[in-house]
Every structure is written in structure tokens, then in C-alpha cells.
């Protein structure tokens, strides 16, 4: 079939809206979509515009979930919507995570802030086939204790993997680890070999996490990162998300560190 795009969204209803943390809401949409964890959609609020959003639900579910922070025009308009209101979606777009490259390995999953959003469907997928993977470490850092997303999921996942949480600065409501997410690496005794890593989070975090991963000898082709760019069109035309030879919307948003070595990706 010829690939084509008319940029028209499909209209779907919001089934449920939940507050995840201050400024972040979870929108559950009445729509079944085949996709790969790590892929994104273009989300429309008609009259406000369109933005790329990574899907945070699992493909097997009969809805799609999006966790969106209120930062700009479209997200502000989205936050004003109520259950039953209609939004538009296009996609899915991009590559998503490559499970064959993670299978059989000990996994280091690093999430910062909203970085847990793309990791969630990946983790759900991994847990469906838990025995296919070795040890799993989830390192999850937030600015403060109120920023942690999906607390119920975290409780469940903790039974099947090593979960480490940290907040950037001390806070009376928090009894756990304090410090940036990279500080956690020193506390963990990782297996000496067969490691693969996935990093999702704010751009500033990547460089420091990669340094830590090098310390524990994760090779460049086994470090995967989900990058954030302004993917406007989703089909490799508009040039907003270009990264050297790559289009983040088509060739990404997930890249191995090896792929990006010669790009100004930071």
C-alpha cells in the first residue's frame, strides 16, 4: 500500500481523565490502536492545534492513555477538556522500542520525571514475558515526591524488578533516596555483563546517565534513548524534528547511542 498522509485526525472521545500529579493529567481515550511501545501519536485539540504525545498505555488494552503535562497552548487547552469531550489523533508514528534487542539481557531502565511515560508500555510488555529477560533495574528520579507517576503500577512492578526511586532535593514528605538519578548507580551492584539500557527523560539527563552506563560497561549499541523533539507532521516532511540525517518522527524517537554518536543530539 502506498503510504500517504492527509494530516486529518480521527476524532475520538475521552473516556476518563485522572490527575497524575500537579500539572500532569492522564487521558484515557476510547480508541483501540495497534502500536509498538515507544511510538507516539499526533494529538489534536481542534482550535488549539496539534502536538506529538508518546502513548503510555499498552497495545493490548482497549483504550489508549496519554499522560500530558500542561506546558503550552495545546496542552493547556487539553487540560480544560472533560470526560466525554472529543480530541483528534493521528498515528501511531515512529519506531518504538526494539524488543529483540532487549530480550535475554539484564535491563537498566532509567526514567526522569515524565520519562516514565514511554517506559510504561515497554515495562508492561516486558512483564508479560518476564522470563525472557534477566535482572531488571528501574531507576526513576523526580524533582520532588509529588512528581512520581503511576504509583500503583510501580508497586506492582516492584515485585518483578529492582525499583529505585529518588528525588532531586530533600523534602519532609519523603523518606527514600535523595539526589539525582545518576547518584543511584553507585548504590547498585549491577551484573557485570550482558546489560542493555533504556533512557527516557529530560534532555539534560542523558549525558550524565550515559557516563554512568559506560562505567558499568554497557556498550553504545545497547543504550537506547527516547528523544524529545517537536514532531509537527509525523511523516518526515516539516523538518522540525531533524537530527543530522535522521527524522526523529520517522527514524526515532528511539535511537541507540551508537546511531547518534556523530550527531548533535543534545
Amino acid at each position: 500500500m502506498e503510504l500517504q498522509s492527509d494530516y486529518k485526525p480521527e476524532l475520538v472521545q475521552i473516556r476518563e481523565i485522572k490527575d497524575l500529579c500537579p500539572d500532569v493529567k492522564l487521558f484515557r481515550l476510547d480508541h483501540i490502536l495497534g502500536f509498538n511501545p515507544g511510538q507516539f501519536i499526533e494529538l489534536s485539540v481542534l482550535g488549539a492545534g496539534e502536538i506529538p504525545v508518546v502513548i503510555t498505555s499498552h497495545p493490548a488494552e482497549d483504550f489508549i492513555e496519554l499522560a500530558v503535562r500542561k506546558v503550552g497552548t495545546v496542552t493547556t487547552a487539553l487540560h480544560k477538556l472533560r470526560e466525554g469531550d472529543v480530541v483528534g489523533i493521528r498515528g501511531p508514528f515512529g519506531n518504538g522500542f526494539s524488543l529483540p534487542q532487549l530480550r535475554g539481557k539484564n535491563l537498566v531502565l532509567v526514567g526522569g520525571g515524565l520519562g516514565l511515560v514511554p517506559l510504561r508500555p515497554l515495562i508492561k510488555n516486558i512483564l508479560l514475558h518476564r522470563s525472557d529477560y534477566g535482572e531488571i533495574y528501574l531507576l526513576y528520579g523526580c524533582r520532588d515526591p509529588y512528581g512520581f507517576l503511576f504509583k500503583k503500577d510501580l508497586k506492582e512492578w516492584e515485585r518483578e524488578m529492582n525499583l529505585y526511586q529518588t528525588i532531586d532535593e530533600d523534602c519532609p514528605d519523603w523518606e527514600g533516596h535523595v539526589g539525582v538519578v545518576t547518584a543511584l548507580f553507585k548504590k547498585i551492584d549491577f551484573p557485570p555483563n550482558n546489560l542493555a539500557a533504556v533512557i527516557c527523560g529530560p534532555p539534560v539527563m542523558f549525558k550524565f546517565v550515559i557516563e554512568e552506563l559506560k562505567e558499568i560497561c554497557v556498550s553504545d549499541d545497547r543504550i537506547f534513548m527516547s528523544l524529545e523533539r517537536h514532531m509537527k507532521c509525523g511523516v518526515g516532511k516539516c523538518q522540525h524534528c531533524t537530527l543530522g540525517k535522521y527524522y526523529v518522527c520517522v527514524d526515532g524517537p528511539v535511537f541507540s547511542y551508537e546511531q547518534l554518536r556523530n550527531c548533535d543530539w543534545q
Binding site: L46, T75, V235, T242
Partner: protein, 335 residues
């Protein structure tokens, strides 16, 4: 086969007869200085003066990929998309110069693969392309062009007193079939086109831009740039776009594609005020990188056809050809 000739004095008659069947977009003189392409009124004649000055915008950015293009209409209350109004007119894009024809051919390819851009083709399919042979602009540096016939539906080739009509497609043949033309068996005299070698070697330019990323040359070249984006607006192969919603007081809206420019500060900015190409040098380099590295990589051709507009209209006087020559020279010195 007989050659078809149209005396230059008959061009306005040709245009008149085209206007009976089509909407015609053609070059007109504006304030005696610059030529602009726009829809001709019924009483107007195109300006095909031999003292042709390069049109500010390439004709395809008037007739095919305009500044604002509606992707679809919608209603905000009880949201739904509006169905399209079909049956738009056929348009003749008249008087397109050769480097713009080449650029349009490439733009077609970009909008066709790997993903077909449906809104582009909805317009493009209704446009008949008529090229005209003009004298080259002083800032132009036309590459050698093979298979010129694939670039147009019709072309008026300058052969002295007459234009020889070249037919590039069935659509073109059909358009011209109703127009009385002189036939001749003689081969009209026609010298070879003036070409410049700088754009001929795609691989060399690609290396020159790709391998010079950290060169001081880019600091020097970008230092002149004021980041206004004019080079991108006037370029026939710049097609970066943004997407915006417009709404009116009745709650009806449209989603529109609007030109954007990678030279502008916010082009690679995302929420939380993170900007992936904060410095003008990065944006300046990226403009060249797209044209001379990414596009050849993706499609096998350059994003420049040497029309010379970016140099002619740059308020800072940046000359793209001179920059390319400098980059190639540096590459040759290194290797």
C-alpha cells in the same frame, strides 16, 4: 517532426486564450522594479520582458505551496471535521524559469515519497506547468540539466524572434492543440544554456558541507546572517512548515499549513523552553545541511537549483554560491 513556433509578439494572445479555459498565474511587474507571480486578471498581460528580473517568490510558492494552505476545516463545538469542497479550477503556472522547473520536479518527488503528501497533490494535480526560457539572472548559477522535457507540460524556448514550443506531457499537448501556431521543418538556431559547474558534483558538495561542520568557515559565514529567514521564503526548495489552527467567531475553524523557516530562533524549540538549535550558527549550518547533505541522502539530489534568489534577496548580502565555492575549496585543500 515539425517544430512549433510562436512569434514573441503573440505571447499575449496565447495567454488570453489560456485565460478562457484556465486560471493563469503569471509574472507581472510590480512598481516597475520587481517581478511577482500572481493570478492574472482578465485585462492583464504577463510581463515577459527580456530585462527579466528574478521574481521574488518562485511561482510554485504562489500556485502550489502557498504561504497558507488549508488542510481541513472543522467545527469547534461538538467537534467534527468538515467535508471538502470539491472541483477547484485548473490552473496554468505560466512563465516558470528553468531552475524553478527543476526545483518543482524535486519538490514533487519530496511530496510523493516516502510518504505522499495528499494536500500538496490535491493542488498540484490541477496545475499545468508552462516554462519560459529567460536570460539568466546575474546571481543565478544554473546546473547542467539533462532531460529538460521531463520538467514541464509546455515550454517556450527562446529562439530569437520566436518561441519554440516544447511539449513535455499529454496535458501540455492538449492545452496547445487549440492554439494556432506556425509550423516549420527547419531547426531553429539555439545556443547551449549557460551553466555553472558548482552544483554539478553532488557528492563533492555533500562532503564539503558534511565534513566542514566544525570549520571556522561556518563561524565566519554565519556571522553575517541576521536570521531573518528571507532565504528560506524565496527558495523554491525550502518547504519547512508549521501547522496552525485558525478559528472564527462562529466556532468554525481550519487547520492550516503555513511556511516556517529553520533559520528562525524557535524552529527547533520544544515545551519547557528547550531549544535544540539555539545558536544562529547551528541554524545556519542546518540550512545548508538540509540542502546539501540530508536531501541528497534522502532523494539523491541537491536542495538547490542555483536560482540565485537567496543571494539576490539576502539583506545581509550573503552569497550562497561564494559560500559553496569556499567550502569546496577548503575540502580540496584538506584532501
Amino acid at each position: 517532426m515539425d517544430k512549433l513556433l510562436l512569434p514573441k509578439t503573440e505571447v499575449s494572445k496565447l495567454v488570453k486564450s489560456l485565460q478562457e479555459r484556465f486560471s493563469v498565474i503569471a509574472p507581472v511587474e510590480r512598481k516597475g522594479q520587481k517581478v511577482v507571480f500572481r493570478r492574472l486578471e482578465s485585462y492583464e498581460e504577463p510581463c515577459l520582458d527580456l530585462d527579466y528580473t528574478l521574481s521574488i517568490l518562485p511561482p510554485q510558492k504562489i500556485g502550489i505551496l502557498p504561504c497558507w494552505q488549508e488542510l481541513f476545516g472543522f467545527k469547534v463545538e461538538s467537534p467534527n471535521l468538515l467535508s471538502e469542497t470539491e472541483g477547484r479550477e485548473q490552473v496554468v503556472l505560466f512563465g516558470v524559469q528553468i531552475t524553478d522547473l527543476l526545483a518543482l520536479k524535486r519538490l514533487d518527488k519530496i511530496m510523493e515519497s516516502p510518504v505522499k503528501d495528499v494536500p500538496y497533490w490535491k493542488v498540484r494535480e490541477r496545475v499545468i506547468i508552462m516554462g519560459v526560457d529567460y536570460p539568466a539572472h546575474p546571481k543565478a548559477f544554473q546546473p547542467p540539466i539533462e532531460a529538460k522535457e521531463g520538467l514541464f507540460d509546455l515550454f517556450l524556448d527562446d529562439v530569437g524572434e520566436d518561441y519554440q514550443i516544447l511539449i513535455g506531457s499529454d496535458k501540455g499537448r492538449d492545452v496547445i492543440s487549440r492554439i494556432p501556431l506556425r509550423r516549420t521543418a527547419e531547426s531553429p538556431e539555439k545556443g547551449p544554456p549557460l551553466v555553472d559547474p558548482i552544483l554539478a558534483d553532488v557528492e563533492k558538495l555533500k562532503s564539503a558541507v558534511e565534513l566542514s561542520k566544525d570549520s571556522k568557515l561556518w563561524d565566519e559565514m554565519a556571522e553575517l546572517c541576521i536570521g531573518c529567514g528571507i532565504c528560506t521564503w524565496v527558495c523554491p526548495l525550502c518547504y519547512c512548515f508549521d501547522v496552525c489552527d485558525k478559528i472564527n467567531i462562529r466556532g468554525e475553524g481550519s487547520r492550516e499549513r503555513v511556511w516556517d523557516s529553520c533559520l528562525l530562533r524557535d524552529f527547533a524549540r520544544i515545551g519547557n523552553d528547550i531549544n535544540f538549535r539555539e545558536s544562529l550558527r547551528e541554524r545556519f549550518y542546518n540550512w545548508y545541511y538540509h540542502k546539501f547533505v540530508r536531501m541528497p541522502e534522502e532523494y539523491g539530489f541537491l536542495g538547490c537549483t542555483g536560482c540565485g534568489r537567496c543571494s539576490a534577496y539576502c539583506p545581509a548580502g550573503i552569497n550562497i554560491k561564494k559560500n559553496l565555492v569556499r567550502l569546496v575549496k577548503e575540502l580540496e585543500e584538506k584532501t
